[in-house]
């Protein structure tokens, strides 16, 4: 009897795992199946031409460029904050300090704050500072979104460092700052992983940039100009009643999915490299 039960539940569990894998394949498959036929070279090399939203010529280069500018800026800001902070809680503070656990705890909560709330807060902040919907506003808001993500993955890899490495450096008489610099080099693949994860999350998020980055058909040339983003571009094109524009939304979805696939796999590659170095 108990062996029968064992069998049945094993099958159910394998079934559950298969469903989850199947759904992933189904999602990516659907996006590619729908989008690939409309994906042309023009899509990724041209900005929207006249009558683009009626199905005429043009591409989504504006959105691709906007997304890249946005994420580069946001990444820069969040790196400046998260790298020193991770060094601080791991190397400067004692191993089980209350302060570092408070910081970790608040980061955990920040990690859970929905992107739409960041969007609303970013918008409120911009109104307060008198910035219009622009590249700058988008950068600030996306930086808020990806900062906790970077922090968490950086923190995780840093904790994996062998404990005797910092001790060895300290015993040679280095200050903690010098020690951090050396260890940072050791952590490089882990940092790359953290960056890739953060970029993946930031580049795909629409709710944060909806209020803050605006939308435009041109490639932004300064921080004060509005910037289009890939997720929003997909969203707006999908909302069009014209079939060709909708098809282009699917093609844009393929572009975004490919970007995410590349980021995700290279993140995994670098993190496995890091783990290999360790043992």
């Amino acid at each position: 009897m108990k062996y029968l039960e064992e069998r049945i539940f094993k099958i159910i569990m394998i079934g559950a795992a298969m469903i989850i894998m199947g759904v992933l394949v189904y999602i990516i498959g659907t996006v590619f199946y729908k989008g690939l036929p409309s994906l042309t070279w023009e899509m990724i090399t041209k900005i929207p031409g006249g009558g683009f939203y009626l199905g005429k010529e043009g591409g989504v280069l504006n959105a691709i460029a906007g997304s890249i500018f946005l994420i580069t800026g946001a990444l820069f800001i969040s790196m400046i904050i998260s790298v020193p902070l991770v060094m601080y809680i791991n190397f400067y503070l004692p191993a089980r300090s209350v302060f570092s656990s408070i910081i970790r705890f608040s980061l955990d909560i920040l990690f859970g704050v929905p992107s739409i709330v960041y969007g609303a807060f970013g918008f409120a902040l911009m109104v307060y500072m008198g910035i219009k919907a622009s590249l700058l506003g988008g950068i600030i808001t996306v930086a808020m979104l990806i900062m906790p993500i970077m922090m968490r993955s950086l923190d995780e890899v840093t904790r994996l460092l062998p404990r005797d490495l910092p001790d060895a450096l300290l015993s040679l008489g280095s200050t903690k700052y010098e020690m951090s610099k050396v260890l940072l080099r050791q952590l490089m693949p882990g940092i790359v992983t953290a960056i890739l994860l953060a970029v993946g999350r930031g580049i795909g998020d629409a709710a944060t940039v909806l209020f803050t980055a605006g939308y435009t058909d041109n490639i932004p040339t300064s921080f004060g100009q509005p910037a289009a983003t890939l997720p929003l571009s997909i969203f707006f094109q999908l909302g069009s009643p014209v079939a060709e524009v909708q098809n282009r939304a699917y093609a844009s979805a393929v572009i975004l999915t490919v970007i995410i696939l590349i980021l995700s796999f290279s993140a995994r590659y670098f993190s496995s490299k890091f783990l290999k170095n360790r043992s």
């Binding site: 064992e6 795992a17 700052y177 629409a206 975004l256």
Partner: protein
């Protein structure tokens, strides 16, 4: 020369401390600024009216959030009901049954599911789930449904929270000391009996914490839900009615919100509400999970 090194170290240390304090305060800053933005509407109407009235007419100054709150709750509950059993079964499978190879194969699957942007989920939902509901599922229950429904939102959300659930649950199950499961197995219990009588019972708090965390993620999800839920301000009566969750409300109306005086404040109130709930849920479940992790590390 020696002095400069120490001065450098000190400066950096203070700079880092500043960042640390800033991060902790940041949460408060977000909370307070949303609160102050929401204050005008809270002064005008009592909190009770805002939360329990179904009257939504921004042009007349009526802001009742009940339809949005109920929509959010329904969609999230459906998502949890679908996602939780799947995730628990899969995590147990990965933890106690699967070989290393399968476990390794599943890593990228979870990574990708959590990496796929909400917009893509939305696109997928409108291509597949919405027509499926409208053509196949709904006709069995109701006269007509557009497919843009509570159910569609729930299904799409379920898939979006599965990776979060699995990654936490795997950790929770792993935290159970091997001695306990070995003891059970050596008494002649089958694996499943061990899972049922030992692992699931032992990890109950962890499962609850993971569920709460996933629920709070579901509450805040915006873009995908916005694209498949139909966005009609009503209290949904069945799974096949359209609904309008809170995040979608905020996202959809940003353009108009400056033109009407009470409106901006009302939307900020929605954001504030979302923020408070998510912070509470997150705080509680993270605390529980940290506790579990600690027990595991030092035992």
């Amino acid at each position: 020369m020696r002095k400069i090194r120490f001065v450098k170290d000190k400066t950096v240390r203070h700079f880092m401390l500043g960042i640390g304090v800033f991060t902790i305060l940041f949460l408060l800053v977000i909370g307070f600024s949303l609160f102050f933005k929401a204050l005008p509407i809270m002064k005008e109407k009592s909190l009770w009216v805002l939360l329990t009235s179904a009257n939504w007419r921004p042009f007349k100054g009526d802001f009742g959030f009940l339809p949005y709150i109920i929509s959010t709750v329904y969609v999230s509950l459906i998502a949890i009901i679908i996602a939780l059993p799947l995730s628990i079964l899969t995590s147990i499978f990965l933890n106690s049954y699967a070989s290393r190879g399968i476990r390794r194969l599943f890593g990228p699957v979870v990574d990708l599911l959590s990496g796929i942007p909400p917009v893509i989920y939305g696109v997928w939902g409108t291509i597949t789930i919405v027509p499926l509901i409208s053509n196949k599922i709904a006709p069995g229950f109701v006269e007509f449904s557009t497919g843009y429904t509570v159910l569609a939102g729930g299904i799409v959300l379920a898939i979006m929270i599965i990776p979060l659930l699995i990654s936490i649950l795997v950790e929770v199950f792993r935290a159970i000391p091997k001695e306990i499961t070995d003891a059970s197995l050596s008494m002649g219990a089958t694996r499943w009996q061990t899972v049922k009588k030992v692992i699931l019972r032992k990890s109950f708090p962890g499962i609850i914490a993971a569920t709460v965390l996933a629920l709070s993620r579901a509450f805040g999800e915006t873009m995908a839900v916005l694209m498949v839920c139909g966005n009609i301000a009503q209290i949904p009566h069945s799974f096949f009615d359209a609904c309008y969750p809170l995040p979608a409300l905020i996202a959809n109306n940003y353009g108009e919100m400056l033109s009407m005086p009470g409106y901006e404040s009302a939307l900020m109130f929605a954001a504030f509400l979302l923020f408070i709930i998510v912070v509470l849920f997150n705080g509680l479940s993270r605390f529980t999970l940290n506790q579990i992790e600690k027990k595991y590390q030092f035992s």
